[in-house]
Amino acid sequence: MTEHLNLPELTSFAARYHLASQIRSGIGQSQDETLVIERITSTANNLSLNRSCGLSGNFMALRSDVEQQCATHGAHISEELAASLKSLCEVLDKHLCQECGFADQPCLHHEKTFEKVSTGGKCIEPLKQLFLDLTDWVDSLWQQLPQAASRPEIVFATTTGRTFGDSRPIIQKFAVSGYALSLGEPGKYSTKVGLEIREKAFGWEQYNLLPYVLLHEILCHAFQSLDNPPLRENADEDDAWSEGWMDSLAHSLALEWLKDHPGTPLKTPAEKEFARSQTTQLHNARYVGLSAAEITSAVPGPAYGRKVFDDVRACYPALYERLPISQHPLVKFSLRLNAITMCKRERVPPLLAMKFLAKHDPSRLRRAIGDFIATPLTQVALDRLRSVLK
């Protein structure tokens, strides 16, 4: 489900995305696969759209540019690739605004188009699909837990233009960020998850960051407080649990997604490695300013939550590193604890106790975590956990 989408400029990204998909399917296992993809990506990233002609025209120009480059550098373009490039121009027609059901009113820049993009939205189809894939993935992990509630309602929204707070360093540096808002009333809660994208700055690098950005919002916030509390509040930005511990988990899961998950659009090892390093850069940049202050602060914040997550993960025997993080007990533990409504003050003491036990009594901590995961009744599980982490 989507609402308030207003991203016509993503059309160029969508076209580029489909270009990459087409080229990949055409290349197959070509020897020069990596080289060709790099050239095409580089060319496409630097492509300046000619507004006087349509997208097809622009990509025809791109195609000849790619062919010329490959010829100059001696790289091989297979017949399949050539055919794919040709068919791309036909495919692009299907991704024009007119195909979204608003043939007489195509999207224009500087106008509110969210209704059209919401009901049609071919231009952001890759984003919608990524959002759905990630939600499905998190839900599949959540459903493994005892007493897991039904899948929470999550609305995907995107906004453009200047909004309050979009001048934050993260947006300035990475051009993309996310947000989550709790909506509704008891019995009918939902979460609006959205992206903040700096205008005209969305490209392949930003797309690479989306698994982490969206996973953070879905995992940390949309799957938070699912026990139908009287008031479902949004997490504070200095919350050690939501923005620290859970964010670290989201980062770890994003790295797994980018590396192994079939949903990732990345194919070559170099592409995957690049995306993973970009993701880690974003993860590290999020609280770089806070960490120094937090070290001397008496009040644990996100950096503390991250440190505890790392410490607890490290207290598991080395064999656990063989497991994908999605199968690590910390994922189930975090999902279940995150789904229980607690205020910031209630979430910090368990972190403190976990940090201590991870260092001084790791086997007891690991057993407590396993016990919390396996105990069927949530309240009983929580009481037993608290009896250890007090």
Binding site: Q143, Q144, L145, P146, R162, T163, F164, G165, S167, R168, P169, L181, E185, L231, E233, N234, D238, A292, A293, T296, S297, A298, V299, P300, Y316, L319, Y320, R322, L323, Q327, P329, K332, F333, K344, R345, V348, P349, L352, A353, F356, K359, H360, D361, R364, R366, R367, I369, G370, D371, F372, I373, A374, K390
Partner: protein, 502 residues
């Protein structure tokens, strides 16, 4: 509970890993224990009382029975680990005792965490602790009790009064209020009692009680304050900066904005300051821009500078934006769009959002002081930002939110009104110049900006039928029944005219 030894010693290691995993698939357990899948499946099958299937997919299991002694007590830890816990507890308490933590919730959290550490230390040390360690534990507990008593104190109302330009600053009863104000003595007394959460405002109370704003010593005091604030900021002395800043705030001298803004931007101060302390610093600075302050323009410019420099966040918008509205350096529409976006952001995150669902007219009353301060800035400067800034937002939900918020009765800021339009002398129809809506300061704002209430309403260029105009008409009907002039609103005239013409 089934005794864990029933699985046999061979399988004890497998059972331990299974318990750590909580819920597991046989493959995962096999991988972690170095067994093959068949072995694990056999173990599960042959010990039906130990394992239970979880979920619908049939491939996940959990351990039901726990080995004897599963509810194991924590083991005794070394003295070193216990000492670490005590050290951490004391370190955290010191931050609060030195007046470095100003957020009430954080102060409580610090105490809670210190108590937890001491509890863990006691539990882990058992009887092994040395007598010295036991004494330290007891002393720390006493500090916690003292700190807890002080944290229960209600926040000083002076802070709320400084935040709201329409509020009167009220000193608390001070002994020897007839003596001249001595900054050094007042500051030393506050520092001595820094553990008390309200002590940072004590020098300001003393200054208020001795009426320094009207006294001949204020200019000498300003020089002393200037040096002291800058010096404390350079040393990262947050408590001193805040205490002195609050004295500056009650001195009613706009020139005091210069050292305050210098302190706020000093790196040593910024690295040591927490969010609530920054809030106090901004409050002190912003208060110097309140109507009636000498050279308030200095504070206005200081707020504008910080608002630009700091990339406006919540604190900057709440405390600096109203003053910046008066600056010529602010955009012609006073950044109304940014303010509206921020209000929308706050509304979306309003903890009382649910109570509001049935009553969308009540907007953000916890930020009522912002509305009143903004109203003071607008009413003192002729509403030019509104006149220019509202029309572009007239059909936007942000504009409706802004008007609703500013006009809300609870916020006591502005009153948006429907006004009788000029009638065309030829046909008696309203002239279509669009001047049918106006704005006026409410009594609480007018008391400080226009005490004689001589200022008439200011016309706003809104066209009837736009969302903002409709919101104003609704507000006039629902919130200010005594002000409704429905018979002369543009909408009612249109309806009358329609009836007249058949």
């Amino acid at each position: 509970m089934i005794d864990g030894s029933a699985v046999g010693t061979d399988h004890q290691a497998v059972l331990d890993v299974a318990r750590e995993l909580g819920i597991f698939g046989p493959e995962t357990l096999a991988e972690l224990t170095g067994r093959n899948n068949a072995e694990i499946e056999t173990l599960i099958r042959t010990h039906p009382g130990f394992f239970e299937r979880v979920g619908d997919d049939g491939n996940n299991w959990r351990v039901v029975a726990e080995p004897a002694g599963a509810e194991d007590a924590p083991g005794e830890l070394g003295v070193e680990a216990v000492e670490t816990l005590v050290e951490e507890a004391i370190l955290a308490l010191k931050q609060s005792e030195r007046g470095l933590v100003h957020d009430e919730e954080n102060r409580r959290l610090i105490i809670q965490l210190a108590e937890q550490r001491i509890r863990m230390a006691q539990s882990a040390s058992g009887n092994a602790g040395t007598s010295k360690l036991r004494r330290r534990l007891a002393a720390t507990q006493r500090r916690i009790v003292k700190l807890r008593e002080q944290t229960e104190v209600q926040p000083d109302p002076l802070l709320a009064e400084l935040r709201d330009w329409t509020a009167r600053l009220t000193p608390r009863n001070i002994e020897g209020a007839t003596d001249p104000f001595n900054l050094d003595v007042a500051l030393a007394g506050a520092i001595k009692d820094a553990v008390h959460p309200n002590s940072v405002l004590r020098p300001a109370h003393e200054a208020l009680a001795r009426n320094v704003a009207q006294s001949p010593q204020r200019y000498d005091l300003s020089v002393t304050l200037d040096h002291a604030i800058r010096g404390a900021a350079l040393k990262g002395q947050v408590f001193q900066v805040l205490a002195l800043g609050c004295v500056a705030a009650v001195s009613a001298m706009g020139t005091m904005a210069d050292p305050l803004v210098a302190a706020i931007t000093t790196p040593a101060f910024r690295t040591a300051v927490d969010r609530e302390a920054l809030r106090i610093a901004y409050t002190a600075l912003s208060n110097l821009a309140r109507p009636g302050t000498d050279e308030a323009q200095r504070a206005v410019e200081a707020c504008t500078y910080l608002l630009r420099r700091e990339r406006p966040g919540r604190l900057e918008m709440e405390l600096l934006a109203p003053a910046a509205m008066q600056s010529p350096a602010t955009g012609p529409n006073g950044d109304l769009v940014l303010i509206s976006q921020w209000l929308k952001w706050e509304q979306d995150r309003d903890p009382h959002r649910q109570e509001r669902l049935g009553n969308p007219q009540v907007a953000l009353s916890r930020l009522g002081h912002f509305a009143r301060n903004l109203a003071c800035s607008l009413d003192s400067n002729g509403y030019a930002p509104l006149e220019r800034g509202l029309p572009p937002l007239a059909d936007d939900e942000l504009g409706v939110l802004l008007v609703t918020y500013l006009s809300d009765v609870e916020n006591k800021a502005l009153q948006f009104r429907t006004l009788a339009p000029n009638l065309n002398p030829d046909d008696g129809q309203p002239a279509s110049n669009g001047l049918h809506y106006g704005v006026l300061a409410r009594a609480r704002v007018a008391r400080v900006t226009d005490p004689d209430r001589r200022r008439p309403h200011t016309y706003l260029q809104l066209w009837p039928g736009c969302r903002m105009a409709e919101a104003i008409e609704d507000l006039a009907m629902t919130q200010d029944p005594e002000q409704v002039r429905a018979e002369s609103s543009f909408t009612s005239l249109r309806r009358k005219s329609a009836r007249r013409h058949g």
